[in-house]
Structure formats: structure tokens, C-alpha cells
């Protein structure tokens, strides 16, 4: 199996326009095995997305190293597919051409043409090939965004709050689709989310991060079988545990009272 990601004491600093230095990541260590479903969870603005961008190769760490299957990550690669928060479909391409973009960009379209309709069917967008993104609903757009990345057959799928902007029902449907996909394609999935339910429902391990500057606060194994029941006591226990960690993360004083 391929698709293991190793993150070794990664530090990422930004300089803002007015010259202030901001430490987004302050020594992150994380080893992700091939075929895992990892969720990165933490308070908003803590640097989860920064970490994801580093894994994708969209930016470079100030210190530390990132590697995939032993080879250092330098620049982007279609083997690490990234699904953006609001899909970022190209508005000037119809759904077919959006999904075929990766194949065409890598100059393998002629060889793998049949993959386009296969993935269009997989995300149930058959019949919408000629539609433009602005004609589709949020859920359809996000599914198209997923198909556009999957068509490249990535080893690692990076998901940057892909379901954040969707309504609750569409979100739950797509969560099931993600699990189905993960079981079938056996790829490594790294999901950034701030939805605790989503993290517990989907992942095999949950990485809880501290507020900025972010470090790994705690890693929890989720030993529940799929499909998971959102109302089971184990589910709720884990959920409460994470909420507790998040609640106290960064705070030192105890309120000193009970309700």
C-alpha cells in the first residue's frame, strides 16, 4: 500500500503585510499510515488548513520535513489530490470538462477517456455533463469537485472542509459517500473539519490540534465499525471527549463549579 505521510517537527511562520510574524504551526509531528482516514480537528484559525496545504505541496515549511512514502514533498502532485472548501470548479468549463481537467492537464486524456463518464456516474451527475457550475446545487458542485480530484487516482486525498458549506442532509449523504469511496479505493484520506460529529463518524484516527500556534494536542483512535451509528453510546462518548479536549485546549484555569 502506498500513501503514507510523515510530518516531522514542522514549523510554519508567515509574515503579514505589516511585518508581523505569525507562527501558524509550531512543531507538528504526525505519522499517517497508508489507507488511514485521518481527521484534523481544532479551533478555527489554528492552522489545520495550513498543514493540509503543506502536505499538498502548495507551500513549504519554515522548518521540518514532510514526506510521502519516504520521498520528500516538493511541490504539488496529482498523487495528493486536494478537494477545496467550496470545490472551486472552473466556472468557464462545463461539468464534463471540469472533471476531465486533470486527465487533460497530465496529457493522458486520450488514454483514459472512459474514466470521465465513469466518475461522472460515480458521483451521480450523469445528464449534467453539459451544465455549467452556476447551474448546479451546492451538493452537486461538491460532488463534481470530488470527482475532478478522484479521476487522477490520487494516493492521498486531502479534504479541506469540503462539506462545510452544505446543508445538514446533503452533508450526511456525502459523508456516507466518502466512507463508501474510502472503503472501495483504499486511499489515505486526510480531512480538515471543525465538525466533531463528522470527525467521529468518518475517521479511523482523530488528530486534535491546539489553538495557534498549532501543535498536536491529542490523537484518538476510533475503534468503531462502519457504518457508524450517530446515537450509539460509544459514538457519543468519543464526541464528548473531543469536545472536552477542545473546550480546555489553551485554557489553564478551571471554572471551579459544576452544573
Amino acid at each position: 500500500m502506498v500513501g503514507a505521510i510523515d510530518i516531522n517537527s514542522v514549523i510554519k511562520k508567515f509574515t503579514t503585510d505589516d511585518g508581523n510574524e505569525i507562527t501558524a504551526l509550531d512543531g507538528v509531528d504526525l505519522n499517517i499510515k497508508a489507507g488511514e482516514f485521518i481527521s484534523l480537528i481544532g479551533p478555527s484559525g489554528c492552522g489545520k488548513s495550513t498543514l493540509l496545504r503543506l502536505i499538498a505541496g502548495l507551500s513549504t515549511p519554515t522548518k521540518g520535513t514532510l514526506s510521502m512514502d519516504g520521498a520528500g514533498i516538493e511541490g504539488t502532485s496529482y498523487e495528493r489530490g486536494l478537494v477545496f472548501q467550496n470545490a472551486m470548479l472552473f466556472p468557464w468549463l462545463n461539468i464534463y470538462d471540469n472533471i476531465a481537467f486533470g486527465l487533460k492537464a497530465r496529457n493522458v486524456y486520450r488514454k483514459h477517456k472512459e474514466r470521465v463518464s465513469k466518475f461522472i456516474n460515480m458521483v451521480s451527475l450523469a445528464g449534467f455533463e453539459k451544465s455549467y457550475p452556476h447551474q448546479l446545487s451546492g451538493g452537486m458542485i461538491q460532488r463534481a469537485g470530488l470527482a475532478r480530484v478522484l479521476i487522477n487516482d490520487p494516493k492521498v486525498l486531502l479534504l479541506d472542509e469540503p462539506l462545510g458549506a452544505l446543508d445538514a442532509f446533503t452533508r450526511m449523504n456525502l459523508q456516507d459517500e466518502l466512507i463508501h469511496l474510502w472503503k472501495k479505493e483504499k486511499m489515505t484520506m486526510i480531512l480538515v473539519t471543525h465538525d466533531v460529529d463528522e470527525a467521529v463518524y468518518l475517521s479511523s484516527r482523530i488528530v486534535v490540534m491546539t489553538p495557534r500556534p498549532a501543535k498536536v494536542e491529542k490523537i484518538l483512535d476510533v475503534n468503531l465499525s462502519y457504518p457508524r451509528v450517530r446515537s450509539s453510546s460509544e459514538f457519543l462518548y468519543l464526541r464528548t471527549q473531543i469536545l472536552k479536549i477542545l473546550d480546555y485546549a489553551g485554557k489553564t484555569e478551571d471554572p471551579g463549579y459544576f452544573i
Partner: protein
């Protein structure tokens, strides 16, 4: 009521015909061989009748012609009034305000020569326009994508661009071997500037995420420029081209006034010098119609290319 509205233009036509037939012409106006205004009204009348029938046959409630009918009716009424003021009573100076008959007679009887004028103007315009658009798009892309080129070229674009292209005429007359080449240069210049500015601006305003998406999907630098940068900047590019088209029409007319010995702008100026105002009006009508058609053509091209924008942006 709707029914009645469709008949208004026809009524207006009949009124104009009546006025032209039964009122005596002023002796100050030289009569034309053919009553062109009457023929014109006859053709319009037939077109209106066809449209009324078509509207009635149409099953849908959407009566297109009925909507436009009042406009046409008033337009013909205005022509009718002008006919009264000029040919019938000669209330305006005859030499500057010829009868509609005379203007139409120029268009019909001088049509062969007018056609050569339109043709030579078109040659100039298309050559200049094509060169301007291509140069503008290339400069815009280079400035938009390359920081070094932007550093060196941008000040030049900003300094030269806002100058009215016609201000270059003294230099152009010296530098270019023929007036044709010089005029093409002036027209190209007037299209080049807005196209460059809008293309570069369009590229610089593309959300970076589109390029990031493309690069994580395996697209190289040049593929990103070709398949992300250019299409994303296309709406802005068209704004620049439309702007340039407007300026190029002005430049074309001015260029013809100065150097070229043919063309519709030159024709107007020449006829003005000969005090042949009927010919001047004929030239103006031809300019109006051809530029209208050109702009329509440009809109059609834009709608074809920017079909993905339908419902997103309107201008």
C-alpha cells in the same frame, strides 16, 4: 388594445405617404428622379404587415412586434415631420438640410462608389483591429503573469496608453511608408491599450485558488496560463476589446480625414467640402448602420465564447 398597438407603425407609414403624395413640394428643393422616400415607406409598410401577421400566428402571448410597434411608429412620424420641414416647406436652409429623397438617392445612385469606400474603410479597420487585439492580449498576458515584464512594461503602457491615438499623427506621417500602414498603426494602438490594461487586470484578479486547484490536479505552468488564466480573464478581456472598438471607430474616422484618399470618413469630409450635404448624410447613415452591425457581431462573438457566464454577469 394590444392588437391596435401593432397597427400603429402602419398608420404612421400611411400618414407619411399621404403627406408626401398630396402636399406640394417646395420649389427650393431640386426634385429627384425617383421618389425614394415613398419607396422606402412602401418597403417598411410591407415589413410591418408581415410582422403583424407573424405576431397573430404566434401561439404564445409574447407579441414581439407589438412591443416594438410604438417605437417604429414614432420613428416614422419623426421622418414625416422632417419631410414636412425640409422638402415640403423648406423651413431649414436647403443646402444643409436636403430632402430625404435626395439622401436616399445618393445611397442608391452612388452605391458603387460608396461600396468601395466602405470596403477600404473596412480593410483599414479590420487590419488595425486584429493587430491591436492580438498585441493587446499578448501584452496583457505577459504583464499579468510575469512580474519582471510587468515592472518594465507597465509604466510604458500607463504613459502611452491614455494618449489619444490621433495625437501620434504627425509622427506617424513621417515614420510609416504609406498612409495605410500609418492608419492601421493608429487603429491598432487604440485597441491595444484598453485590451492590454483589461487583460492584465483580469489576470491579476483571478483568485489564486484556481491556479492552486490546477496545480494539484497536475497542470504545469503553461497549461495553467492557457487553460486557467486566459479563460478566467476572458470577460475582462472582452470589456477591453469593446472599449477599444469604440475608440478605433473614432480613430478610423480621424485617420481618414488626414491621410488616406479613400474610405467612408474621407468621403464625408470630401462631400462636406463640396457642400454636398445629401452625400454627407448618406455617409453618416452608412457609418451608423455598419458600426451597429460590427458591434452586434462583437456581441455575438462574446456570447458564444462567454456562454458559461450566462446568468452570472451581465453587461
Amino acid at each position: 388594445m394590444k392588437r391596435l398597438k401593432s397597427w400603429l407603425p402602419l398608420l404612421s407609414v400611411l400618414l407619411a405617404v399621404g403627406v408626401d403624395l398630396w402636399l406640394p413640394d417646395s420649389p427650393l428643393h431640386t426634385p429627384t428622379k425617383t421618389k425614394y422616400f415613398l419607396w422606402f415607406l412602401l418597403i417598411l409598410g410591407i415589413i410591418f404587415i408581415i410582422n403583424i401577421i407573424r405576431d397573430n400566428l404566434r401561439k404564445t402571448k409574447d407579441k414581439n412586434f407589438a412591443k416594438q410597434a410604438p417605437f417604429y411608429a414614432v420613428l416614422i412620424l419623426l421622418l414625416n415631420i422632417f419631410n414636412l420641414v425640409s422638402k415640403k416647406y423648406a423651413l431649414l436652409p436647403v443646402i444643409f438640410f436636403p430632402s430625404i429623397d435626395r439622401v436616399f438617392s445618393v445611397i442608391v445612385e452612388d452605391s458603387a462608389f460608396l461600396a468601395t469606400c466602405v470596403f477600404s474603410s473596412a480593410k483599414l479597420l479590420f487590419a488595425g483591429f486584429a493587430i491591436g487585439v492580438i498585441a493587446g492580449v499578448i501584452t496583457g498576458i505577459a504583464v499579468g503573469f510575469n512580474k519582471v515584464i510587468s515592472y518594465w512594461i507597465n509604466p510604458l503602457v500607463r504613459a502611452i496608453g491614455p494618449m489619444p491615438p490621433t495625437a501620434w499623427i504627425p509622427i506617424v506621417l513621417v515614420v510609416f511608408p504609406t498612409t495605410f500602414a500609418g492608419s492601421v498603426f493608429l487603429i491598432a494602438l487604440s485597441v491595444w491599450f484598453p485590451t492590454t490594461i483589461m487583460t492584465a487586470g483580469g489576470i491579476q484578479n483571478i483568485p489564486n485558488a484556481y491556479f492552486e486547484v490546477a496545480s494539484t490536479l497536475g497542470a504545469g505552468r503553461y497549461y495553467q496560463i492557457l487553460k486557467v488564466g486566459i479563460p478566467a480573464a476572458m470577460p475582462q478581456m472582452f470589456l477591453g476589446i469593446f472599449n477599444g472598438a469604440g475608440i478605433s471607430f473614432v480613430t478610423l474616422m480621424t485617420a481618414e480625414l488626414l491621410g488616406v484618399k479613400n474610405g467612408i470618413g474621407w468621403y464625408i469630409n470630401w462631400q462636406k467640402d463640396m457642400m454636398a450635404y445629401a452625400n454627407v448624410y448618406a455617409g453618416l447613415i452608412i457609418i451608423a448602420v455598419s458600426f451597429y452591425l460590427l458591434v452586434m457581431l462583437l456581441f455575438k462573438v462574446r456570447d458564444r465564447i462567454l456562454v458559461w457566464q450566462k446568468g452570472v454577469i451581465k453587461w
